[in-house]
Amino acid sequence: MKVNRRGFLKITGLVVAGIAIPPVFKSFARTEASTSLTTQSQSGTNLAMVIRLGICPDGCTDCIDACNKVHNIPDIDNTNHEIKWIWTEHYENVFPEQQSKYIDHSLVELPALVLCNHCDNPPCTQVCPVKATWKREDGIVMMDYHRCIGCRFCMAACPYGSRSFNWGDPRPFVKEPVDPNYPTRTKGVVEKCNFCEERLRDGLIPACVEACSYGALFFGNLEDKDSEVRKLVSTNYTIRRHSNQGTHPKVYYLI
């Protein structure tokens, strides 16, 4: 086969392009999707919460108030704009899979506390394009408000509706006095429960757990065999929200 000058250059060009293009393509197409969906903690700490259902007295909002206070959560009347870290929903909405027409009316409307489940396999962190939310070694699904661009992908991904978006500046709606130990948020960022990571750093337990005087809330390390949450979870029947979705939520409900 005779190769002329033009043909030789064409082949050379194709070979060079073939060598050069794949690495460039790979570097642009690289994603950091989780390679394993392991639910085992690597650090020996896996923080979780246990909520005892049906024990809260009517109208008690001690835990919610405590959370709102320490995190400067704005009190916005408009339900489209409201910010919620921990709140109550009717049992039928929290556990739609557990419905039966024979359940007593009082049980269906039983208020159940809901908050971010700090999933072992969180869908919110996988969709965040800027890594503003991620799962820490100790199991807390953390938010970096500095980094959030307000795209709300995480809100769409969360099957629990645990995230709230600041449609406007929340500062005017924060009840005085503002707690200087925790920053308020700003317009255009998503926020949610952080298991009081700032309090954990100081050796305190989450504000809601501390505020509850009825023994409805427990917090601790699931990996620690002697911890209260581990004992409760291992020796009782517990339910978790939408556990069939593979998110492995870490808020357990004692029934």
């Binding site: 503002v178 200087p180 130990n181």
Partner: protein, 129 residues
């Protein structure tokens, strides 16, 4: 060029006037306005040496942000061995610089920068806005 003399003279006068602030500072050795910072007399230096802080406080605060939010480290060991709790509102503004208006803002306004820190971090317990 028509009226070259007038144009050249006009351009020269324009350039002198536009660059007047530079000449003035060079000639007198100081600008007409220098921000006066209100500094807590009780402290020799805040976290790091004053010169370093003047130039790099924004880098230090950015590092602090990464340490506390991303890495979960809440104390910072300064080069002189003292440790500080990492918190803009809790450490910087509550102990040494309680008056943001007369400390932070006096320089930031002077250089025409508006860092977005204050949209979230509070600078006074009784702050209303």
């Amino acid at each position: 060029m028509y009226d070259a003399g007038k144009i050249v003279a006009g351009v020269a006068i324009f350039l002198i006037m536009v660059t007047f602030p530079i000449w003035y500072v060079t000639a007198t050795g100081q600008s007409s306005y220098v921000p006066q910072l209100e500094i807590d007399p009780g402290e020799e230096q805040c976290v790091e040496a004053t010169d370093y802080m003047k130039k790099n406080h924004m880098i230090l605060l950015d590092d602090w942000k990464t340490m506390v939010v991303r890495d979960g480290i809440s104390t910072y060991a300064a080069s002189d061995g003292k440790t500080y709790n990492i918190s803009l509102s809790g450490t910087c503004l509550s102990s040494c610089h309680p008056n943001k208006l007369e400390f932070c803002d006096s320089c930031h306004t002077y250089v025409g920068t508006s860092p977005p820190c204050w949209s979230c971090h509070t600078w006074s317990i009784n702050e209303s806005q």
